[in-house]
Symmetry: C2
Subunit: 380 residues, 2 copies
Amino acid sequence: MNWIESHPGTQEKSRTGALHTEAGIVQTPNFMPVGTRGSVRGLSSDVLSRSGTEILLVNLFHLWLRPGESVLKGAGGIRSFMGWKGPILSDSGGFQILSLKDRRKVSEEGVHFQSPYDGSPVFLSPEEVVRFSGTIGVTIAMVLDHLVSPEEGVAKNREALERTLRWAKRSLDAKETIESEMALFGIVQGGLDPQLRKFCAGELAGMSGPGGTTFDGYGIGGLGIGEAPDERISIVSAAIEPLPKDKPRYLMGVGYPEDLIEAVGEGVDLFDCVLPTRNARNGMLFTRAGRLIIRNARYTEDHGPVDETCSCLTCQSYSRAYLHHLFRTEEMLGPVLNTIHNVTFYLNLMKEMREQLVMGTFSGWKNHMLGHLNTRGKNE
Amino acid sequence: MNWIESHPGTQEKSRTGALHTEAGIVQTPNFMPVGTRGSVRGLSSDVLSRSGTEILLVNLFHLWLRPGESVLKGAGGIRSFMGWKGPILSDSGGFQILSLKDRRKVSEEGVHFQSPYDGSPVFLSPEEVVRFSGTIGVTIAMVLDHLVSPEEGVAKNREALERTLRWAKRSLDAKETIESEMALFGIVQGGLDPQLRKFCAGELAGMSGPGGTTFDGYGIGGLGIGEAPDERISIVSAAIEPLPKDKPRYLMGVGYPEDLIEAVGEGVDLFDCVLPTRNARNGMLFTRAGRLIIRNARYTEDHGPVDETCSCLTCQSYSRAYLHHLFRTEEMLGPVLNTIHNVTFYLNLMKEMREQLVMGTFSGWKNHMLGHLNTRGKNE
């Protein structure tokens, strides 16, 4: 896999380009809709394609449990199983170390989980994550990292960071033992400490396997879990500084449209987040004029589209009044149409950023958008 | 609206043709996916079109309550509201007289309901049903009828039948007072008594308004509620006998694929039923080889499509193993993909029947299919 910049030589930190993968090309910056368990809630791959999706995210930990390795191998891999022809990136399960805190035990070797489905034991190690990712044919695999909350204090964060680096090295070593075209991304951790972030990124940038293998790109993890946007963007900036300029950077699990715009300004190339899909199911729609809460009575007789500027299947055929009606009558089509809109909104925003970057007008556009978009919650 | 037979003069009771409506042409025999509250569960109008849908069914009683007349008028009618360009048939609310037995009171004037949403009072009369159908722009309206269970005895059934006929006459009269291209169908009732059915159908066939308006077609109601298939088909046959040959017949709320095939053999032109959509949500898929229960463990590693002969979006892109996985993980995409398959299965079956009718080979095909399809439940 290669990332090739379209307009090298610019003075800006922001950039545009394309990931050339074995499963197809991904223009960057880009956004990956989240299909944790092997499906983006309610959307067929056909609808995802038509919404502009170029790359999907799945979660290795969840796929490991269900449907499991045997089914995925039998299907000819995760892409064939999901009926998705394009590239797929797999998150490793590092986030589950944080989110399933009461169901796991971390040791130097790896993580012992209890399955949230049936309590059965699951063991993830850096090597197993690389092997399993390769076996199920993901296009880009994230290494296993050790994610802890910043609230757990400096000592625990430092310890987790050092383990994350040792695991990263083991992941690179493991990658040299498998036969696969799969790309492997390291993950920069370090909580909310810019110096730790720089240290971690520098270590990953200089890391290689015995055969000289280096990371194909870098995730920035452990963000989007409650920190303020200003704090986050300074951490992103610190994390990116030591990273090689010719490799893609992926800000994991972030965030609102404004967060994406700011992060692209710092040189981020890839994003994923559950916000567009999860909020859609709750009836929150993203528009150029801010958030739209479809259950509100004001939309009962509003026969205009969700967003007049939007090209999505939902805005082309349905009104706010119809979506409001679907919400009130709890019709399944409501979440489906809302999700189509929000996913398209995010993908169109990424497309617009790429166009602004190509034209060299991104910086002014960014300031304008940050002043006008109002999609973050009051305390977000 | 006109129904024009394609191959007049055949000796068979079965027939093929086309409904020419102001909203488009519907080839017959045909099946209407059910969108009770203004949406076919989980399917956008785009997906419905691509699945072969030519005409949809909605329920007037439900739309009356939500979103209500003002919203539907403001939207420019139900078709525009639902983003559906083709014809729409509305069921009147007669079925709710049966299904909401504890929330309604029938008088000669009409039916007083309590809203199942919030208990507020709703009054439906034959005239109001015609007026409301016209106002919201349905293509074909069913009259309000008085449906009672056969178990309520001969006297009550006879009484309901006579009221149904008086209401039918009032509906025709009312139709002459509204300005609309809408078609109006009478409904043949009479429970499981062939003589009552013949009597009712004959009365409806001879009925006209003061200006000479007659029904544009005829529903056969009160079936698909527990009677045996053999009993049903003899009732359908009796109901059709007195009906004019140049008007469409619609068997309401029936049934399994075998039921549809048998009824087409008797000369039925239109169907609706919740079976393909409701069963899809419960994981029951219709195939040429019978029922497929997707939750069964045997599909865990079955990488073939639901039905190898099926052209639907689901069978073209996804395996049984994937649908099984979606069912187990309770992913919303499961019901969506299952519904696409079942709706397409029904519509393809109707298409096949039309082709067999055109070729003059329907009768032999029908016998073959009834011997081989096995989609009815054991006691159905």
